[in-house]
Subunit: 341 residues, 4 copies
Amino acid sequence: MISFESDYTTGAHPKILQRLMETNLEAASGYGTDVYCEKARNKIRKACGCPNADIYFLAGGTQTNAVVISSMLQNYEGVIAAETGHIHVHEAGAIEHTGHKVLALPEYQGKIKADELKRYLQGFYEDESQEHMVYPGMVYLSYPTEYGTLYKKEELEEIAGICREYKIPLFLDGARLGYGLMSRERDMELSDIARICDVFYIGGTKVGALCGEAVVFPQNNAPAHFFTMIKQNGALLAKGRLLGIQFDTLFTDGLYLEISEYAIEMAEQLKKVLKEKECSFYLESPTNQQFIILENSRMEKLKQHIIFSFWEKADDTHTVVRLVTSWSTRLEEIERLRELL
Amino acid sequence: MISFESDYTTGAHPKILQRLMETNLEAASGYGTDVYCEKARNKIRKACGCPNADIYFLAGGTQTNAVVISSMLQNYEGVIAAETGHIHVHEAGAIEHTGHKVLALPEYQGKIKADELKRYLQGFYEDESQEHMVYPGMVYLSYPTEYGTLYKKEELEEIAGICREYKIPLFLDGARLGYGLMSRERDMELSDIARICDVFYIGGTKVGALCGEAVVFPQNNAPAHFFTMIKQNGALLAKGRLLGIQFDTLFTDGLYLEISEYAIEMAEQLKKVLKEKECSFYLESPTNQQFIILENSRMEKLKQHIIFSFWEKADDTHTVVRLVTSWSTRLEEIERLRELL
Amino acid sequence: MISFESDYTTGAHPKILQRLMETNLEAASGYGTDVYCEKARNKIRKACGCPNADIYFLAGGTQTNAVVISSMLQNYEGVIAAETGHIHVHEAGAIEHTGHKVLALPEYQGKIKADELKRYLQGFYEDESQEHMVYPGMVYLSYPTEYGTLYKKEELEEIAGICREYKIPLFLDGARLGYGLMSRERDMELSDIARICDVFYIGGTKVGALCGEAVVFPQNNAPAHFFTMIKQNGALLAKGRLLGIQFDTLFTDGLYLEISEYAIEMAEQLKKVLKEKECSFYLESPTNQQFIILENSRMEKLKQHIIFSFWEKADDTHTVVRLVTSWSTRLEEIERLRELL
Amino acid sequence: MISFESDYTTGAHPKILQRLMETNLEAASGYGTDVYCEKARNKIRKACGCPNADIYFLAGGTQTNAVVISSMLQNYEGVIAAETGHIHVHEAGAIEHTGHKVLALPEYQGKIKADELKRYLQGFYEDESQEHMVYPGMVYLSYPTEYGTLYKKEELEEIAGICREYKIPLFLDGARLGYGLMSRERDMELSDIARICDVFYIGGTKVGALCGEAVVFPQNNAPAHFFTMIKQNGALLAKGRLLGIQFDTLFTDGLYLEISEYAIEMAEQLKKVLKEKECSFYLESPTNQQFIILENSRMEKLKQHIIFSFWEKADDTHTVVRLVTSWSTRLEEIERLRELL
């Protein structure tokens, strides 16, 4: 079976495994204090253009979101997100589990609009009963979004400006950051992200690592005792080397972007095939996730040969499905899909 | 520098890395639903003699403790632990972070006493103001304990009997389970643990894996929607295969016990050297952690060549330090220690 | 100044104060175990037609919502509410503070629709990624709603039927229950509420008491150790007598309904005046809260003589305001309002 | 039956009821924004000698402890308390329910020792694994303690000095503050408490009110949005007037201290009788709670005429019981006890 199910179906990029082998017998101190974590931090700082950035490595996206958000919010604050935001829908209530509300804004292909954010914040501070309500304490975005779409630089800067005006941090979930940075429609580099956001993370799990996300506080602005809050949330890996070695490898000789570019190239091939076969697109995604609408019987037939994700019911006879590429997608697989369609 | 700092300083047992390489390109579904997780579950079920056990893989010990404890307690309940229990002292309040109190009992070389547990439970239910207090809802033990010591089978059964009497589950933290199972003073096998406890975990991180703990509910007794609670706690690894492949390897051809036995053998050699050099033992540990009391200036000198853990101040001129062996400890390292002492 | 600001601006109904005086020197045991609480419970059981109901007295609405909801939900569950539901908007995130998500459904004049609830639940259980989402574990309604509107008996029964089908409890927030029960548009009695809902509360604070809400589990179905969870949430009043005496009084000789009926009568008078003066109604409310749209300059003028609540901006020149009646509203006050308009 | 069960068995001091009557029909805004709350705040500020104090009224002790502690701690911090501290033992885990650990120190008749506190804090900051532990973020004391004992001014100042040194606030639980202030062994006034502590509360429930505790942040140092956190914890009373009127009355013409002095006088009479009857005292308490050890059969006989509290088993044939006086204790009741003994 060929799988376009997600970008986390295969193992790690071979260079990562190779480095894990090479370093396996070296003794390293635990919890992210080892030399590989430090090397990785320095390379990421350089790639971000942020020499003073605080950088922490966690194992997965949901825990990263929960730790970052709960450690940066005050008790009386919640986090603003698109109603399709991962934290609002697909993390089993992990944010609420830390005691904070997700304040949902309308979404447009996975994105929020700056003017609606502004109106929301204005309205909140004009409301006479605001003291009985959850204070908006952070804005959460994903880049690319859960629908594969991208904020334009201008949009991101506008949102960041509103955040600054209201003195709340802007947090960018970069679980698939690489695919945004290498999309053909990109207009930002990593250093732009680091300049515009107050905190973000560079996703490893979905971009060629076995696991791992690198949280970046670009301006040396990590909350006090962030390390202890990682531990308290059960998100501190004893063998931190596992994360350090992987990110050190990903940020050596541009591997992170190379992996991302390859997956984008595969996604473009995939789109070409899908268009050629007159598949109907649910939306136009410029990254490695593609959403198409399939007639149900066609979907069932395809399922026998290809693995993909159910996304949602479109109507009684059609379904939205998702196909995803990654570092390990092969051109033959896309060819095979063409034949099957 | 030679390191006896902990059993999580080096990478993974070579066989694990080899299997990660061999399987790297296979597409696998995420979140623990892959074929390797399933294989690993079956092998663990067999090793435990529990054909119906529910088994889940998590990445680390603190998150495992927090997820298991919070998902098995009612809101009004707390968990009983030794006052030196890992959850009481060294997990940054992860249990309280989930809303539950740790109810501390006196410890004796890291162990609680069955009769004191009994007296505590009796006293609680005799107390007329019990409804204003935290209900004891679980007993947490570690095996080996944080001091490397072991409960005898008889002790464990007595504690389990009391738990049954009071209808609360017995949870055994097996972060270093292998070293208990292969200690020369062992009187239990894995199947005994599985028979006596209501839930326990088989530690991977400290027994040769890169990361990973296998939670076992021996009698098909996992709480409803345990999977979702793992997710909610940020403890669900997207590439569950990383855990599945490791535990599949550890439970193939007895590798888990083999690794443990080797580390125990190294610990015995270490003890011999330490005794020969007239080091004073803080307590008698039959597992892979050894605690000795060093005169401070001697400790400082040793530190220049050997890495070990500070444990606690013994008095103004002496310190308790910990030396630990693992799958990667080499006899030469112990020899070198002998020379240095 | 005349106040239509809310139904909790004045003290208690005189009969309540009188009983507090009469009983003041009697020694009573604490925490709701006194004879007045027991008398009140029996009278409420009778009024509800539920001889086995479990009844608990708490001090206020937000704490009651938080205690009831968090004690009836499993960790992995959230509570469904209208997007205008008090718990979603005006309780400062008290539900999320207990770790649970509020799952918002569209509202129609403060009410949810049974068919949308059904569709939501169906959709949830059809979603293949449901295990990564918050399980719907309860339905929360308010009666009357935050907009003064009422569910018809048929609507409530339909919602209850859906809840039973999905095995989740139906919780009715009755902070203003009396006004619903005595509305001219009512088609339910207290016994209907008790028959249809799994848990509800009878609001005292807004219906003539100094404070207090009576939580009713009609079928002897309080969660185990509910008392301790009240305590744990800081919601257990030491002098429980204060609540017992008030509810005993409210449920003696039908005082609760008498108070409610009086306030409804005043609300009808108020509506007549507002209509006569050609005020534009924001919506048609059959209970003691009335919402009208005022031109801003008219509103400002009125503010100098009358206290009412800002509700929300209607547009740049108009505002929605709320006027509320209670046991202490006097006809002269409404007359005075007529003159001012 | 005569009751020495507690200081919250009877209603309110008559002057409080009288004021509730007199003000009953006045419309007042809700949530503590009314004129009586404001008056009470000013009188308390004056009594404390703190013109800038922030003052909030809550309904009961456990909720006050939970709100104050959780709003002043960072996520990674816990609160230090005596192992007999109310928050550690008798609040059903309310502090842990907010996510924070109670860090227990040994107690001596309910008090902690300054030098042990110092040693604990020193030890914590010397511990190399401190980042894996709960940071001590506050010291909680009760005055009088749960055993009726009092800190000397010198002791309190020493503890406060240590807190300042470690930059953590000192919180004094004054649920029975009045009895400490009027004890014959007192060496502090309210203004001393206010000068020495960072936050404390003046208990109303146990000193003549129907309910209510006044939280005082003496130096205008309430946490930002403390109001919203009260609401979020379900601890905001809608009819805040109920608390305002009571505290306004208690702080008019010295009623609070007058009530306290009377109860202390009754406690001294009680002690005289108990001594005369050769009752064995569990400890020497200078406040309104007295602890004596009764032979079990004597206790059973006494129980038929007098209500008191079981405290704990002394041994197989003796029990520690507690007798408490209050504003409503009458000399005849103590005489009657003498006869019965």
